[in-house]
Amino acid sequence: MDLIRQIWIESGIYQISSGQIAMIAICLLLLYLGIVKKFEPLLLVTIGFGGLLSNIPGVEIATGNGLLHLAYVTGIETGAFPLIIFMGVGAMTDFGPLLANPKTLFLGAAAQFGIFATLLGALGLTELGIMDFSLREAAAIGIIGGADGPTAIYVAGQLAPHLLGAIAVAAYSYMALVPLIQPPIMRLLTTEAERKIEMVQLREVSKVERVVFPLLLLLLVALLLPSAAPLLGMLCFGNLMRECGVVDRLSDTTQNSLINIVTIFLGLAVGSKLSAEQFLDWSTLSILLLGMVAFAIGTACGLLMGKLLNKITKTPINPLIGAAGVSAVPMAARVANKVGMEANPQNILLMHAMGPNVAGVIGSAVAAGIMIMFAS
């Protein structure tokens, strides 16, 4: 009888807390968004399931020697997983459109204003006494505005690990919401005439330029902003493997097996931070709110910079591609393309939008480097 009693005492029904029930509901929602709504499924499915596992009462899986906790300690605390993902992103990214039209980097720069505005917003909430974020926490929250998952996870892991769950969920959710968040802002800030602007076809980019680019970027980072070197360095390494043409087998593995394996364990490890104590907190609501604001501001700044560039350069620039400067590769570029085609069905902006899109990745990695330098 003692044994039956022990089964009952160790059962989930007996042990479960209301917070865990709420977290299980939230994780099921994340799985729903990932599977049914196809919101960034690679991450929301793995994070959501990791969250389910870590909210099962009385089991050592997200703590101690548990698999999810080991993945967190070895992969997130050390920064290894986001860096390896960034290497994979580099191996999958075609910087050709950016090389063909380097000035789209300015669009990627402008869109990073969302990051710093959000940092300010988080500190403002603190000043108003609503929340109590430190500078490190505010910086980690701001990075959501970079619309770049691995960058957000890397920075949060360094500066505010206790907010990692909320930040990762916010970052991936909003990246998936790009097709809903961006179009109204795009229509508000541009005129019909601007949205109709057709751009000249991009020039061919030679293989040598493609190979030299990652090395050039790495050297500039090394000389000017070493704190951004881990993230951008791995991005450049992946891209060099992709473009150099002599290590295709390494590049293929990086783009497939390696990034997939790391994605699975990254997602589970992030999910292990979805505990009730840390997630069911007003800070999570603030983070979701601030993240939304960050995206909107980033989009708006990219668009305004697009309008400015269009004015001051000779070749026409459709301001819509500025919205792609927030990153969220390749979703934001597709949205720019779609809104452009609504105004002018002959207007295929996709390739032009890929330039600011990948520029946004570089831009937020630079911003991340600055955050890490000052806030840590």
Partner: protein
């Protein structure tokens, strides 16, 4: 002290956006310079060490050897 925090935030925003723009401006210039140099000295590339005939011979040799 909270004013101090907000001040820090404003400074960080100004310096941060300044750095992002400066860095990317330098990158734009470096990329343009690099591209113009590359276009001038059109890459000469490198040749393989193994000629097609040799590859054919090797393939034939392997085929003869293994044939299983």
């Amino acid at each position: 002290m909270e004013i101090g925090l907000l001040n820090q935030g404003v400074t960080l925003m100004l310096v941060g956006m300044g750095t992002v723009f400066s860095f990317l401006t330098i990158l734009v210039m470096a990329m343009s310079l690099m591209s113009s140099i590359v276009v001038k000295f059109a890459a000469s590339g490198s040749d393989d060490d193994v000629s097609p005939e040799e590859v054919a011979a090797i393939t034939a040799a392997i085929a003869v050897h293994r044939k299983k």
